[in-house]
């Protein structure tokens, strides 16, 4: 299954990264959100780390919606999806393949969003950088697991971007809370971090993100075959 998943991810990445409009649309949307939010700041004013972190995740989640919509749209033309459904492998390989490709594309996008956040929202690197990086990685796994599952849900539907967003965003609330709290620690210096933040609390947020990842990866593996089958034509 892993080999098939890697092949699917490779195919998707090749198709998206070689197309001129591929990832750039999602990237532009995320950057625009960060830029437009910077208009709320006065000259020289610094946004609080938590608000900047929220903005970063808002951009990431909108970007992720477009990424997964794009990944599943690749097989829409000429009914190529039937080819994937007939693969001599478990159908979960498709979920895993899309998950891996989506994860890589999201990480690329975030590498661009982080400097944009420093520039437009006047942020700088903070104290708990390691915890913030682990938090970003765990959150990306969770949102890509959900995105890959729900992307399949919207296959062949009109208005799929909006449907994906309205289903995905409420589900991601617990993970986004953990993500915002953890990544804000990576933007705040010691004076900005409230005294109540201790290592035990940081570990609890990591634990929550990990639990979300485990729960939704397992749920996706069980539920994906019910969504990605031939019943929808």
């Amino acid at each position: 299954m892993l080999k098939t998943a890697l092949l699917i991810a490779q195919k998707d990445l090749r198709l998206i990264l070689t197309r001129s409009a591929g990832l750039s649309q999602a990237l532009l949307l995320g950057l625009l959100l960060v830029f437009l939010f910077s208009l709320s700041l006065q000259t020289g004013e610094k946004l609080s780390p938590q608000a900047a972190s929220t903005m970063f995740w808002l951009s990431s989640v909108f970007c992720q919606v477009l990424i997964f919509q794009m990944l599943y749209a690749l097989e829409e033309q000429n009914s190529a999806r039937v080819g994937l459904q007939l693969l001599p492998s478990q159908v979960q390989a498709v979920w895993l393949g899309k998950f891996l490709a989506g994860m890589l594309l999201l990480l690329i996008a975030q590498v661009i969003f982080i400097p944009a956040m420093f520039v437009f929202l006047n942020q700088s690197l903070g104290f708990y950088l390691f915890h913030a990086c682990v938090g970003i990685l765990l959150t990306d796994i969770g949102i890509c697991a959900c995105g890959s599952l729900l992307g399949a849900l919207c296959v062949g539907q009109s208005g799929k971007e909006s449907i994906l967003s309205i289903i995905l965003f409420p589900l991601l609330v617990p993970l986004l809370l953990a993500a915002i709290r953890l990544s804000s620690l990576g933007l705040a210096d010691l004076s900005e971090i409230p005294s109540v933040v201790d290592h035990a609390e940081i570990l609890r947020w990591h634990g929550l993100a990990l639990a979300f990842d485990a729960l939704f990866c397992s749920a996706a593996l069980v539920l994906f075959p019910f969504l990605y089958n031939g019943d929808d034509s």
Partner: protein, 225 residues
């Protein structure tokens, strides 16, 4: 259906009697005054909303593994009623919150969990209105119900970690409630059972009849052509 009609009648009578309990039997809360009375409907609404979503979740699992459309209908109807109850829970909670905390909305585990569930099931109801084959719609709806319900403990825990000011009503020795208040709220919870069960049964019958009519219509159109 007749027994459900009787049940609904008992529910209406109990609802009328609950007014007496709320305004006469149960004492008025010292700090919040009459505004606290909304609690006697807020709590049953919240509990039955969660019961409804749980029924929807179990039916969704049963549908995926048995492929019986009866379970899909039960899941859909429970979600509809749960959504209605969640809306009323949020409205009554908001009114109560305004009186007791001075704000219409605050970040609290129970409030956030209910609101997130409300959003998930609102999306679910949107998906159910989309044009797609019945089997596909049932499978998609079941998946949304399952992942939505699985998300609930995580939402609750994350919101509690974030911050919380909600009172724990039955957490420790009745949460400071007088015995009369406890009796009244238990009566209200039971009263809502007499309203919830007939509502579920009537709506289920209605959806079943609607689907039968649609099947009949499709068959007639097919025979005409």
């Amino acid at each position: 259906m007749k027994k459900y009609a009787y049940m609904a009648l008992i529910g209406v009578l109990c609802l009328a009697f609950s007014q007496f309990l709320i305004y006469d039997y149960a004492p008025t809360e010292r700090t919040m005054g009459y505004a606290q009375k909304i609690f006697y409907y807020h709590l049953p609404l919240a509990w039955w909303c969660f019961v409804s979503f749980f029924i929807s979740f179990v039916s969704a699992i049963l549908y995926l593994f048995k492929k019986n459309m009866c379970y899909d209908r039960l899941s859909a109807v429970s979600a509809e009623i749960g959504f209605l109850l969640a809306t009323l829970t949020l409205v009554t909670g908001s009114i109560w919150g305004r009186q007791s905390w001075g704000v219409w909305w605050t970040w609290d585990p129970r409030l956030t969990t209910t609101l997130v569930l409300w959003f998930i099931y609102a999306a679910y109801l949107v998906v159910r209105t989309m044009a797609m084959p019945n089997e596909k719609r049932a499978a998609v709806s079941a998946v949304i119900t399952i992942i939505g319900f699985l998300d609930v403990p995580l939402v609750f825990f994350s919101a509690r970690l974030w911050r919380s000011i909600h009172p724990a009503v039955f957490a420790s020795k009745g949460g400071g409630l007088e015995a009369e208040m406890v009796h009244t709220v238990i009566f209200c919870v039971l009263t809502f059972a007499f309203i919830y069960i007939p509502l579920l049964a009537f709506r289920l019958k209605q959806v079943q009849q609607l689907q039968s009519m649609e099947t009949l219509r499709t068959r007639m159109l097919y025979e005409e052509n």
